[in-house]
Amino acid sequence: MKKRKASDLNRERISRRRAAYCLTRPPYKYNPYSTPSVLGRHTITLPNTLSVFSSNTREKLYILLRQLREIPLTSKLTLDFSNLSKIKISAVLVLFAHLEILLENNRNSRLIWKKPADPTIDAKLSELGLWALLGEKYRPVEGAIRICSVSSAQNQIDEKQPLRDAINYAKNAISSYEMPDSPEDTDNASFAAISESFTNVWQHAYAEDLQKSHPTLINPSKIQKWWIAQTHIDGQLFMAVYDVGVGIPFSTRRRPWYKFLHSDILHTLKGMNSDSRDIQTALAYGTSRYKQQGRGNGLPTMKRFVEINPNGELCIISGKGVYKYKSKDNREEFSNLESSYPGTLIQWNIALTEDHGNADED
């Protein structure tokens, strides 16, 4: 028999360890959203368009948010904006909120960012405060306002200066034009729409007894914030608000009136997915016979801001549902999303002169 050497024992020990590891190793799962890392640094390249208004760009934004979510908390991150050539404030707002949450979860992240090659996009993102969020000094631009947020804690001690700034920005934009309809209504309607979206968040989206996990966020129950972005271009005001709460469908389903109202309007909900149906049910509540006295003012008030404008648009995205309303032809549209968006995104486009309303926010 051959004499065993020390090296044989080593080999045997290593092979035993490998076999044991193979037996206990969790099965490999492919994660389409994980990004490769080089020397511990992950690079995420942004798509060329940031928008939530087409299924293709929405899907790309969703992939981007999932990629951000999959970055290990201790990893270094490079965000590559260089291909970015088109942005919409609502999509920037969603990205801003996710980045803010990511940075709050990982204060030590070593984040680097490559700016867009297009100087106008770079300037717009600077104006909206995205570079300031990532660490640069904010340079205020006249006639522009950065994205701002109010947390639940700030709300509870009545620190609402960002909300005040947002309201004043909208009022100034409205008063700088001669509105085609009654300006007094638009002025107060803008205040009411922004404020109702703000209070709805604390009443419904972040209700104490509700929790919901989102595939794009870590610990969403710990994040209770409301974000707002605004821009005012060529006679149009674009306003978007966002929260990462439970969303309209989830919040609506737990209401005592839900099943009665839902079955009443079921015949109007054909072709919609479950989330779109629930958004429609929430919108119908304010004028239904199930309306609790004095309640149900939030969504109708947000819609009224658009209704009184001759060329306004309202878009609500929550879960897998999208609702759009155009005041020009009093048309409502619902569409279904493949991926579920966390929280609720609401955008208003308001024409400030008779000549405008169809312009894009590019």
Binding site: L163, D185, A192, Q293
Partner: protein, 113 residues
């Protein structure tokens, strides 16, 4: 009872928003209970002036005026006679009247039940 007083809402907050404590410390229910009701206890006419605020919201106004009726503190006709709203927009005053009447009707319906 004294004759008349004016409550300047902007001294309470320039952002009269929210229904109850969930919306922050300054809200419609708090203003009703701690400012409007004490004023109604003391004065026969109370003017509520929203002029210096940044705007008004349905949830704050409904909770303030509709809540006065729902709580049983005052009835519809008394409230309409004793409380006067000062604000630049007629549409807001009409909405307040609507909230008061709706709350009164609702209360009346519940009583009959």
């Amino acid at each position: 009872m004294k004759t008349e007083t004016t409550l300047d809402v902007s001294e309470y907050t320039d952002l009269p928003i929210g229904r109850n404590h969930l919306d922050g410390p300054k809200n419609g229910a708090d203003y009703r209970d701690n400012h409007v009701i004490p004023a109604l206890d003391e004065y026969s006419t109370v003017k509520i002036d929203f002029t210096k605020t940044l705007g008004t919201t349905p949830s704050f106004l409904e909770e303030l005026f509709g809540g006065l009726i729902r709580s049983g503190y005052i009835d519809t006709s008394n409230l309409l006679n004793r409380v006067h709203v000062i604000y630049k927009y007629e549409s807001v005053k009409n909405n307040i009247k609507k909230y008061i009447i709706e709350a009164g009707d609702h209360l009346e319906k519940n009583r009959k039940k």
